[in-house]
Amino acid sequence: MMQSRELTSSLRNLPKCTNRRNQHTVWSLSKPCATSKERVIVMSQQVVFKKNKWLPYILLAPQIVITIVFFFWPAITSLRLALYRTTPFGDRTFFVGSQNFQRLFASPQYQRSLITTLMFSASVTLLGVAISLCIALLLNQAVRGRTVYRTAILWPYGVALPISGILWMFMMHPTFGIVPYFFEGIIDFNFDWILNGNAAMLLVILTAIWTNLGYNVAFFLAGLQAIPKSLQEAALVDGATSLKAIRYITLPLLSPTTFFLLVMNVVYSLFDTFGLIDAVTKGGPGNATEILIYKAYKDGIISLNLGSSAAQSVILMVLATLLTVFQFGFIERKVSY
């Protein structure tokens, strides 16, 4: 047993590869992951319990049942609803095939919503990740008090989005908010987000970025700390400036994390911001902040047009699936455990 402990800890630093069926954990002394012929050490087989045939089913049962009842069943119902037009109380239903989808793509409001969502998502993602990267780089330099700074930067992540929306609403209120008051003389911008669509977009974008900063910074920090300092010091010795070192060494090594965060932020801005829009602008003046997911809610629950709402849900589901598959495929390959 003593041997195993020592061996385990010394092996921890070696790159590990798992074969395709994830049964063997192979520590390889050569990089990239060797094929089975070049395997150096086979450390373990995946442990499998063979005694109880029925135990796995019992263990899985609760989760599977809940998943089917609350995930699959509503998803299938949504899919089915999307093919029908129905009165709110359900007394009349007509099968219309893809007419809901056709009407959706033809309607200028939906097209407008697509563009709004695109702008919103792009802003939140790109700006959010860029700002978080800068903050994480700075944070990585500071050694003393790092935990204090980190906590101070992380805490907005714990605030629920609708609450931060209300917080920012107060801050950016055209009459008694401190931000317009401060910028009144300096910038010529109409902060009245009840009438000015751009002001409303600014409000929700800033709130979404602010709330998610903690999440991004945390992941960036973890990624930065996985980069050995020796690399950067070597670059500095070779005469590179800090900026060049960051650009050519840190950033490429950080790219898995960056990619992961980009995808997560897109998912966040597409789906998690529903609460924010509902609490603050409800689609905004005109429909300036009506993102896809809010429109699906509005059409379904407020206007009681269940068929169209279900069609929008289906489109969003497809989008979410694509993003998840994309991320999973990439992550499973690049990030090693």
Partner: protein, 229 residues
């Protein structure tokens, strides 16, 4: 080249030391500014929460006024915050405990057993990552209404208990436990879960968990041995 190295790393006093200090100071200043900007909404919210209505709708200031107790008391009473807080804590606790329990159990089943529907179960669970809640909200509402769970704690907690991310994390954790051939044997599968349950409450990420149960790793190795091959 080596001269530069000497300058940057070996000089203890004089110009070099000052240069290092300036950089550090600069970084700390920047960080403090950033922290202030990020924390500004909270500071502002706190300041407003101590002002009276007239002050709030007047010219905006960061002044801390003296309506602190009055405002908080009114907020508590008007929105029945006690009840709301209780609801939030209750729902959060219940769904978290349920979520972790289920994740432990199902990840355990997926990793340590080979059974006929293993892949099907695996993908059933992970496909839920692709179905975010707001997308299926209308139909989920219908299902919960059909069950009669509207407006109840059950309706709020149970649907959230099947979390694919939880299962994902525990699966990763279980896979990092190497099997080992040794002689002694004790322990049963659910005791492994108990260990994981305890450690889960102490750490957040799998690696942390791994580190904390490192001491118990032997017992786990021993336990897992009992059922290998």
């Amino acid at each position: 080249m080596s001269q530069k190295t000497a300058k940057q790393t070996n000089v203890l006093g004089g110009l070099q030391l000052n240069k290092v200090n300036w950089e550090k100071l600069y970084i700390h200043l920047l960080l403090i500014t950033i922290v202030l900007i990020i924390g500004f909404p909270l500071i502002y919210a706190f300041a407003i929460s101590t002002q009276s209505l007239q002050e709030v709708v007047g010219r905006p200031t960061l002044r801390i006024s003296n309506n602190l107790l009055g405002n908080y008391r009114e907020a508590w009473v008007r929105s029945d915050l006690g009840r709301l807080l209780f609801n939030s804590i209750f729902v959060a606790l219940t769904s978290t405990i349920g979520k972790i329990t289920m994740a432990i159990l199902s990840a355990f089943a997926i990793v340590f057993f080979n059974f006929r529907f293993k892949s099907l179960a695996f993908w059933t669970i992970f496909i839920t990552l692709m179905l975010p809640v707001p997308v299926r909200i209308v139909s989920t509402y219908q299902v919960i209404s059909d069950l009669g769970w509207l407006n109840s704690y059950v309706g709020l907690t149970v649907p959230l208990m099947a979390s694919a991310t939880g299962t994902f994390f525990f699966r990763q954790f279980y896979r990092t436990i190497p099997g080992q051939t040794t002689e002694t044997s004790w322990g049963r599968p659910h005791e492994v879960s108990v260990v994981c349950l305890t450690s889960q409450f102490m750490g957040q990420y799998c690696r942390l968990v791994c580190g904390l149960v490192h001491l118990r790793l032997e017992s786990i190795l021993v336990a897992t041995h009992d059922y290998s091959h």
